[in-house]
């Protein structure tokens, strides 16, 4: 059951105006009808989408809130058929084997589910498809509901682009493989040797085997469980618990090399009610992805009053293990990653979260501007400046290794506009050579003054200095 553009169903979406939602990687996750007419498609870059439809309102994705909004829908379907699997807010899968015997026919199940959902979700009705396997069902999803009798024939007629793996799909097209049927007719071994795991996966999906054909046996006692005394009531605490439980589950699975495609989240409230929900993902879960899913689920339950009295027990059990776990390098041992994380977590505990940092490149002219900091283990936000833009006047490499955040004053002696001596500590060093001045005039409309930059070379090293109206400051040390 699929609700396209679920992320758009939120209170702050402006009615009557084109609108799109972008995720933290700046990719469009949903666009409404008017934005689609202008050519905006999910998966597009934000900049591209804004160029196509400049009038559109762009909203930042909030998967947690989407999960909360989706909870009534999932609960409504669960009332008709138990064991609902949520792939992400807006897409859920329902296994029909048991329900068919109970309700009699596929049509009857679909009608009941559609009626239940229509009561729970306002707005555009969901699209429902019935087929063998989640991929085929997702492709068949339509309004009114579509029941596919012959899944193999249905898949064979689909365009190869349905796979959604761009780089492999492009090569397939180039080789003249236009539909999933063309792909399926090729020998699997040939595809596997030419395209590797990605091709093998594509062939499996095209053959209707997208549930891992031979699920690995789940090792006993791998479920991660945590009990809370006193019960957790706050969302923050629950989110923290989610992260810890996800980490323990992944650590428990790591020795067998397995990694789950599906997990069952079970929560028990202080009042004794037990709630269970299954989450599935096309790609195997990573620890952060798993922690996010658990957190969304807990948030949805907490906000809908599903855990009265607080959370006393949280259990996460894996299902559908895949062997696509992380392959260790030859020289790497399984414990080293864990130890690295423990060491950094310990440093973080000593110094606080803002002291253990990672950085990634972004656009800018000065060394300080070209770095986007983020906390270790937290996703970096969108870069404030495009790293691929040209940035004329950027300071050339090599970059200074030391860049003071508050540039201290530097005493420089000038002779006719040429730097002659620099004061380093208590002594004056003669300037042997220098490069510059490079004048930078930016944001003059905000009252910023032009600045001249020099690279000064002395026998004690090279320095980057900035000369502004207030004198000369040390902007960097080439140490």
């Amino acid at each position: 059951m699929w609700f396209p553009d679920w992320p758009l169903r939120r209170p702050d979406a402006p009615p009557g105006e084109p609108c799109q939602v972008v995720d933290d990687r700046n990719l469009v996750t949903a666009a409404d009808v008017r934005a689609r007419e202008a050519g905006v498609r999910p998966g597009m870059r934000r900049r591209e989408a804004e160029a196509l439809c400049p009038a559109a309102v762009t909203l930042a994705a909030d998967p947690g809130a989407e999960a909360v909004a989706f909870e009534p829908v999932a609960a409504a379907v669960e009332a008709v058929v138990p064991r609902v699997e949520v792939a992400h807010p807006g897409l859920l899968f329902v296994p029909l084997e048991g329900a068919l015997r109970y309700y009699g026919s596929e049509q009857a199940v679909v009608e009941r589910a559609a009626a239940a959902v229509a009561a729970a979700a306002s707005g555009e009705p969901g699209r429902i498809g019935v087929a063998d396997g989640p991929f085929a069902a997702r492709m068949a999803a339509a309004d009114p509901p579509r029941v596919v009798a012959d899944t193999a024939a249905f898949l064979a007629s689909l365009d190869i682009g349905a796979l959604g793996v761009d780089d492999v799909v492009d090569t397939f097209r180039w080789l003249g493989i236009g539909t999933l049927g063309d792909l399926r007719s090729l020998p699997r071994a040939a595809i596997a040797s030419r395209f590797g795991p990605a091709g093998l996966q594509a062939h499996r999906v095209a053959s209707g085997e997208d549930r891992s054909p031979q699920p690995r046996p789940v090792p006993v006692d791998t479920a991660a469980e945590e009990r809370f005394e006193p019960p957790l009531t706050g969302l923050e605490q629950a989110a923290f618990a989610a992260r810890a439980v996800a980490g323990r589950l992944m650590a428990a699975l790591a020795p067998s090399g397995g990694i789950p495609h599906r997990v069952e989240v079970e929560a028990e409230s202080a009042a004794g009610t037990v709630r269970t929900r299954t989450w599935r993902s096309a790609d195997p879960f990573t620890e952060t992805a798993l922690a996010d899913r658990i957190r969304w689920q807990l948030r949805a339950w907490v906000e809908s009053g599903g855990v009265p009295g607080g959370l006393v027990r949280l259990r996460v059990a894996p299902a559908d293990l895949s062997d696509r776990g992380r392959q260790l390098r030859l020289t790497e041992d399984a414990a080293s990653g864990l130890e690295e994380r423990r060491a950094l977590a310990r440093a973080q505990a000593l110094l606080g979260p803002d002291a253990v940092l990672q950085a990634r490149p972004q656009g800018g002219r000065l060394p300080g501007e070209r770095v986007q900091w983020h906390r270790w283990e937290e996703p970096p936000g969108a870069p404030a400046h495009d790293p691929d833009a040209p940035w004329p006047g950027r300071l050339p490499a090599p970059s200074p290794a030391l860049v003071p955040p508050d540039p201290p004053a530097l005493e420089v002696e000038w002779d006719g506009g040429f730097p002659v001596r620099v004061r380093l500590g208590s002594r004056w060093e003669p300037v042997l050579s220098w490069a510059g001045p490079w004048r930078s005039i930016d944001r003059w409309w905000e009252g910023r003054h032009p600045v001249d930059r020099y690279q000064l070379v002395t026998s004690a090293g090279a320095f980057l200095c900035e000369v502004g109206p207030d004198g000369c400051t040390l902007a960097g040390v080439y140490d």
């Binding site: 690295e340 200074p400 030391l402 003071p404 040429f418 070379v457 080439y478």
Partner: protein, 212 residues
């Protein structure tokens, strides 16, 4: 970083020292010299040769990851730990040595010799490479496997107001077991992008090489 390879002996010196500038597990590399002597970048380049996650302890908040990336450390493998508190510095560095294979640590002024020796012992026990870059002063004798002291740095590329900084040549005094037990002078060439290369053949102590 195959270029941080062999430092060939000066003419007349008896033995070759292979892998002089490598991050050896369990060894301490001391980088001494005033700011500007080019040792931060050298340390980062040595750190880049380590295959796993590496941490840099930054006591002043000055360390620029841009230089680390240019030295060859991929952004996702570098964690910068800012530790302005002198009292916590040793604890934090010790915590990092417990789990990481290579740690670059600026040493705040006033860190006691005993503390540094304890960290050296921990690095040996955990088989982690420890690079110490004192903000001021030096490292106690006998602690470091290799001690590099910046003697001079000569830059090329900048003229009288034209050009820009390009290649540089560091003159270092190497001492300790890693240098073959005797004091020797080596030159390290750094062309500013990624490779740092030890230049073979440098005889006696150069006097004021930086005057270029």
């Amino acid at each position: 970083m195959a270029d941080i390879g062999t430092a060939r002996p000066a003419p007349g010196a008896p033995d070759a020292v292979p892998g002089l500038l490598d991050a050896h597990p369990g060894r301490v590399l001391a980088l001494e010299g005033p700011p500007g002597s080019g040792l931060t970048r050298l340390g980062l380049a040595v750190l880049a040769a380590h295959p796993g996650t590496v941490a840099a302890v930054d006591v002043r908040g000055w360390l620029s990851p841009l230089a680390a990336w240019e030295a060859g450390i991929p952004p996702e493998r570098l964690v910068i730990v800012r530790c302005p508190d002198r009292g916590l510095w040793a604890q934090v560095t010790a915590a990092l040595l417990e789990g990481l294979g290579a740690v670059y640590a600026e040493v705040p002024a006033g860190a006691s010799d005993a503390l540094l020796r304890r960290l050296g012992a921990l690095a040996r026990a955990r088989r982690a490479a420890l690079l110490l870059r004192p903000v001021r002063g030096g490292i106690p004798a006998g602690l470091a496997h290799l001690r590099l002291r910046g003697e001079g740095v000569a830059w090329e590329g900048a003229g009288e107001g034209h050009g820009r900084l390009g290649r540089r040549l560091l003159t270092l005094r190497a001492a300790g077991k890693g240098a073959g037990g005797m004091e020797r002078h080596i030159e390290v060439e750094d062309d500013g992008t990624d490779a740092v290369r030890v230049v073979p053949g440098l005889a006696a102590a150069p006097s004021r090489r930086a005057a270029g």
